[in-house]
Subunit: 381 residues, 2 copies
DNA sequence: CGCTTATGTTCTCGTTGAGAACATAACAAG
DNA sequence: CTTGTTATGTTCTCAACGAGAACATAAGCG
């Protein structure tokens, strides 16, 4: 590490602070935050302004003292595109430094990988010189960020390199549940947590381990298939090829199955919503299905807490409904699955706050993560 | 980050390189390794030598070129004490920079926390001014590095602060299985792995997730109780208070139980060894017990691989025997538990190479980790 | 014995962030 | 309206850092 690296290092820290700040940072505030002098901050910011990365505007004066400036994303600075590709639809948004986001376009698709050509055309329509990176969330495991394995779409080992044209911008592709967790860690309820878990419950369960605000990816970037651990003692065979998976007992497929329906992917989601509504209206049969789901959910969470010791566990998707309707049952089942000595300090189980667009938010963050690095900044300056 | 920090930063990198090197590093080699100039290396090393952290001795000349020096631990430099505290015995060793280790003393104990006074006396006997930190491995979960919960010793919530005298040196306490994993990651078969798992199989299973060579501890430093996840569908109640734990089907207790014995802690270990020998001698009943253990082990590993996507999984303790006797069964069960699309690239399952003293080795590493930091070095210089 | 090779040593240089002194723009109090 | 207070911006000096070049040195090789 040389002394030239030092400058870049501090500039990345500064950019990261600007990006992560909840409210726009002032230059003086940033200096305090990073523990650097006002003079140094001026120099660093000046260089970043000249590189069109941040833009200084006079700040509203607040109390005494000489007015300072606000550090805002530069109007002609880099942009990140965020994509959320689901089973039958996709959404394209642009995200500025700092997280401000605007949806650009969205569409449906025919459940073939042909959708990527469509998406590529959309990206191309909105592409400008400002585009620096693309983050893409996809509902399924993606090995090495390239090979899609989405059983229920019949995508066996779809190679993204075959479908993303040669002139695609720099792109990082990741699993949607993982990115939803990343979103909670960066801009949601897991903010500041050193060790946390997030689970997105839809047809089945996907999730991620979050350490110091970063989503763990594993060796082949396919970590997070917590739903495919046999945590609930079910003997059923799972679509994934294994047996007894947790997802067989939690999620909309499990709800449908519990009511004697035939679980599928796509149709199951609306059915599950119906079951939820029936349960809220007091239907006993639907209520029992929800009960079973909640118990299985809690059971699995307890087991995972034993292994990974998170300080908090956040849920999204159907998990939020389950938490609203059956928090006590979930917590009780979780406590039962915890080792006895841990039961007096169980992990908090909390509803995610980022909302429906969590994968999109996470995709944007993942995109920015590829940019807010020393190597990127070094060539940009 | 200031420019003075830069010097310390590079010096820590240098020390770390010296500590981690398999064979003693030469000064020129270290410069190449860190990507710094020979002049800079000379300055850094000179300062470290003056601080009695490394010692330069002329290196054997190897081929052409001006002879260089070897970077060795300084004869009056800091030392780390490593402790391994088991159910009925303890071992104290001293470890030098670079990993060289010498056992100083060991003893039995009466299964009460009184052992810590004994150990403290031993530490005091060997303590010199060179002692910089102590790493301690304990066979059980330790919340916040302080509160011991070891059910089978009847230690419910033993507070180490009550048993480690006021004048104890700076100490880091950690779980033995986790430290065994750390040892494999630093000086064993997991060296260089970005994402790996290690499991120590004894009475039950403990383990750790290793990311970039560091053992993950969780929010309360009690992560790693993988053995207390219900991965095998057992309905039995576990001593830990939960139900269906993996450890009920894997480990020496499980072996004993499979043969109709009454599992206990302590006695079970020898019984398990007997069973192993009988199985090796062709005893069918013992063989079946081993079969069951192997199948349950593999089943759990597959599930965990789905969730955490390790590039390798190493085993120690009884795991090494199981791997020797039933590798195929373990791998087959693991594959069955893997999601189908992952079966063509399963995680490697490998025997640990650090051996019996892995917890001690890991304890030493953990001790050194508290020292090889910028803050420690800053005040040392 | 001279050539090659790898390393140690010395010196200069550009860059970095710290720190102090001063300038400036708001507010507050009389 | 003036003066003092406060927080920040700006400028300049300075010590320290690592890079790089030039040179010195100690080995092996032919």
């Amino acid at each position: 590490m040389t002394s030239a690296d030092l400058r870049v290092h501090n500039q990345v820290r500064l950019l990261r602070a600007v990006h992560d700040a909840e409210a726009p940072l002032t230059r003086a505030g940033a200096a305090r935050l990073l523990g650097i002098g006002r003079n140094t901050a001026a120099a660093l910011v000046g260089e970043l302004e000249r590189a069109h990365l941040v833009h200084e505007v006079p700040a509203e004066t607040a109390g005494r003292g000489r007015p300072t400036t606000l550090l805002l994303p530069h109007p002609s600075g880099p942009l990140v595109f965020a994509l959320d590709v689901r089973e039958d639809s996709w959404t394209l948004a642009r995200a500025e430094l700092g997280g401000a986001r605007e949806v650009l376009e969205s569409g449906g698709h025919d459940r073939t990988p042909g959708v990527f050509a469509e998406i590529g055309a959309a990206v191309e329509r909105h592409r400008t010189g400002r585009l620096a990176a693309v983050g893409m969330a996809i509902a399924g495991p993606i090995r090495d960020g390239r090979l899609l394995h989405i059983a229920h779409l019949g995508w066996d080992e779809v190679d993204l390199d075959d479908h993303l044209g040669r002139d695609w911008p720099r792109t990082v592709v990741d699993n949607d549940a993982r990115l939803a967790g990343l979103a909670e860690a960066r801009r949601g309820v897991l903010h500041g947590a050193g060790c946390a878990l997030h689970f997105h419950i839809d047809f089945d369960i996907g999730g991620t381990l979050l350490l110091d605000g970063d989503a763990q990816r594993g060796a082949h970037r396919i970590a997070g298939e917590f739903g495919h651990m046999p945590l609930t003692g079910s003997g059923l065979e799972c679509m994934c090829g294994a047996r007894g998976c947790w997802s067989l007992d939690v999620g909309s497929n499990a709800l449908v199955r519990h009511l004697g329906g035939k679980p599928g992917y796509g149709t199951g989601r609306e059915l599950a919503q119906q079951i939820l509504r029936r349960a809220e209206d007091g239907d006993a049969e639907a209520g029992a299905a929800i009960d079973a789901n909640a118990a299985a959910l809690g059971r699995g969470l307890g087991a995972l807490a034993n292994a990974l010791d998170p300080e908090a566990i956040s849920l999204s998707g159907l998990g939020i409904d389950l938490l609203r309707l059956r928090r006590d049952a979930i917590e009780a089942a979780c406590a039962e699955g915890l080792m006895a000595f841990r039961r007096n300090t169980p992990p908090q189980i909390i509803a995610g706050t980022v909302g429906e667009q969590a994968p999109l938010t996470g995709a944007a963050e993942a995109g920015w993560d590829t940019i807010l690095t020393e190597t990127w900044l070094r060539e940009r300056l």
